[in-house]
């Protein structure tokens, strides 16, 4: 076996290494896609992974004044309170998860005790555990004895009704609107702006302060009194309505669908589409669109369509043979050794993941085999992967267009670029918000 390590990037016959470079980039691009296709998106996984509070934290609670039940889901004030610094406060064992639209939990007042000085709210990590939530900075609390909302100072604001024995009170965070909201017996009491100071992780917090007060907490293990799903739906709807009011340039969707069909070579669909559009889309627009095609994505439309069909049907021999006829510079039969070596050495440095370099060399080698389906890279020709291969070939052909200005045009349709931009903007905005809120997931929309 040829053991030269130098210049594995050059093709055998010394033709343009630009094309090699392009093919290499394309190969990498689609391989990455292939890897991603089979795994869940990073954002999807992280939303599942974020841990939610399940029980009360017995370690840092103001132990001298209260008792937490063994199941860690209820608390009782045991002594007689004397002043403002002997509140029995307890936080949840984990902070409220942030990568979602809303977080919510409830308490049930089993016994309002001597004075009904119960509170529900959110506090930060270093909270002084002998003070009511809301009485210190970086905390907020809705108090049962006076119905006021306290936000970081000793004086509270008028907020809602008082609550007592038998009431179920809930507290939540709305990351989209950056608000706290509270409910009583299944009804929304109100919302308040989540001040910028309340950054960082917030812990669901409950407090009891007079003799015999007893409160049970529900972190979602039981059904809530408040219809959270409905509230969430309403909040989504509110935002959707704001978005719907935005106006779009006329016929933009039509144009993008058309570009998409052109880009991927769905010729038959495009022809039907154009025919049907004649009666609805103003002719002026169609003319403009055709004249404006910078990257000329109509290039080799028929050939790309034919190749896609052949690949999808599994007729690989026919596909390769046609590809050789039309674009000999793409198919490098006999360059297998080079391709394999190139794959192993050059491309491996781009990927630090174990086992991935095998996939890399496989895909690059695909076009180099005489009989690919009988080769060890034949798995790429399984039905599920065929679309990926078809897309790769499509991009490679587009790259042979002398009018191609940049790789971007071959790799991604306009539609894809717009969707990527949307995802990136949402992620960036979430990041600017301290990672709070949902990411954009196309699958969710569909």
């Amino acid at each position: 076996m040829n053991s030269s390590n130098t210049n594995n990037g050059q093709s055998n016959n010394g033709k343009s290494s630009r094309l090699d470079g392009i093919n290499r980039d394309l190969g990498l691009y689609f391989l990455e896609l292939s890897r991603l296709r089979s795994s869940a998106a990073p954002t999807e996984m992280e939303e599942d992974e974020e841990e939610a509070p399940k029980e009360l934290n017995t370690i840092n609670s103001s132990g001298g004044f209260l008792v937490v039940a063994p199941d860690k889901l209820s608390v009782k004030y045991t002594t007689v309170n004397l002043h403002g610094h002997d509140v029995g406060v307890v936080q949840a064992n984990k902070p409220a998860p942030v990568k979602r639209l809303l977080y919510y939990f409830e308490i049930y007042v089993k016994d309002a005790g001597a004075k009904g000085q119960i509170a529900i709210g959110f506090t930060n990590e270093g909270f002084k555990m002998r003070r009511q939530p809301g009485w210190e900075v970086n905390s907020c609390g809705y108090h049962g004895d006076d119905g006021l909302l306290y936000r970081g100072q000793g004086k509270g604001d008028a907020f809602g009704p008082t609550y007592t024995t038998g009431d179920t009170v809930g507290g939540g965070i709305n990351y989209a609107s950056q608000e706290f909201f509270f409910t009583k017996n299944g009804v929304l009491v109100g919302t308040v702006c989540k001040e910028k100071e309340m950054k960082g992780r917030l812990f669901p917090t409950i407090a009891v302060h007079s003799q015999n007060e007893e409160v049970h907490v529900n972190f979602g293990q039981k059904k809530f009194a408040f219809d959270l799903k409905e509230y969430e739906a309403q909040e989504r709807l509110k935002r959707q309505m704001t978005i719907e009011k935005i106006s779009l340039p006329p016929n933009i969707s039509y144009g993008l669908v058309r570009s998409y069909l052109l880009h991927y070579g769905y010729e038959d669909t495009l022809n039907s589409f154009d025919l049907a559009s004649k009666s609805t889309i103003p002719p002026v627009y169609i003319a403009q669109e055709n004249g404006f095609d910078e990257q000329d994505i109509g290039y080799a439309l028929n050939q790309r369509k034919i190749l896609r069909q052949l690949i999808r049907n599994g007729e690989i021999d026919a596909a390769i043979s046609k590809l050789r006829d039309w674009y000999p510079q793409i198919v490098q039969v006999g360059a297998l050794e080079e391709a394999v070596k190139y794959g192993r050495i050059e491309l491996a440095k781009f990927f630090r993941l174990a086992g991935f370099d095998d996939l890399v060399q496989d895909c690059v080698a695909l076009l180099a085999y005489e009989h690919p389906q009988e080769s060890c890279v034949g798995y790429l020709l399984e039905e599920s992967q065929r679309d990926l291969v078809a897309d790769t070939v499509n991009a490679m052909i587009l790259s042979t267009n002398p009018n191609t200005q940049d790789m971007e045009g071959c790799l991604q349709s306009y539609l894809e670029r717009l969707l990527r931009q949307l995802t990136a903007c949402c992620l960036e905005r979430r990041s600017a918000n301290g990672e709070q809120g949902e990411a954009f997931l196309l699958r969710r929309v569909l």
Partner: protein, 228 residues
């Protein structure tokens, strides 16, 4: 009060757009396109797309054909035919949608006027539309506007000339399409435009916190360098 906006360079932004952070699956884009074709009623194109891409339409294509026949009838000005077809599909559609029914009747009146059938037009207006106008102020106003077409010699220049325009037919056709879709329990709007609006919104929102490469022209999806 000047808030400090974070500056994200083009290079930095393109890194973020790279595959690892941002995953858009081809199947999902195909579904989006199919959803567009189906909702807008491009039956043949949807069928071809199913064959070429292997994407399954989210509703029965046969129901699209019926719906498209109705839409076409309206677009061609055959309103009576359209109404008959709608009632064949589902008589409740027009029953529960008096606004739409009035719009169709109005279109019928417009077509009669367009074809110079003045007597028939007046008779139709009196018998069918005037009673509706009595019940509803906005219907009455529309009726009056339409009838006023008869007054003008040169309809292309008169204030209500737009009623004779093709766009009026298209408007009604779109409303009919939406009503039928809704009655078939399908969302009446394709998802693609909402996503585009979401993009504009998301860019505006991020704009408050950062200067970064935007896409200003949706039709060519070109990134423009951040202005600071």
């Amino acid at each position: 009060m000047a808030s400090s906006k974070k500056l994200i360079s083009r290079e930095e932004w393109e890194k973020r757009l790279k595959l690892n952070n941002v995953k858009i699956r081809k199947e999902d884009m195909n579904k989006l396109v199919m959803n567009f074709l189906v909702t807008e009623g491009y039956v043949e194109a949807a069928e071809k797309f199913r064959m070429e891409s292997g994407t399954h339409p989210d509703i029965d294509l046969a129901t699209i054909t019926d719906r498209m026949a109705v839409k076409k009838a309206v677009q061609c000005g055959n309103v009576e035919d359209a109404i008959e077809k709608i009632n064949d599909l589902n008589p409740e559609i027009l029953d529960t949608n008096p606004q739409l029914f009035f719009q169709l009747q109005q279109q019928r009146l417009i077509e009669l006027i367009r074809n110079g059938k003045v007597e028939e037009a007046l008779e139709f207006a009196q018998e069918e539309l005037a009673p509706r106008g009595e019940e509803n102020q906005s219907f009455l106003e529309e009726l009056e506007r339409t009838i006023s077409l008869l007054v003008f010699e040169d309809t292309s220049n008169c204030p209500v000339g737009e009623l004779l325009d093709i766009s009026q037919r298209l408007k009604t056709a779109t409303e009919v399409n939406a009503a039928v879709l809704t009655s078939q329990s399908h969302e009446k709007d394709p998802k693609l435009p909402s996503l585009l609006k979401m993009l504009i919104w998301a860019q505006n929102q991020l704009d408050k916190k950062a200067a970064y490469p935007c896409i200003n022209d949706l039709s060519n999806a070109r990134l423009e360098d951040p202005t600071f």
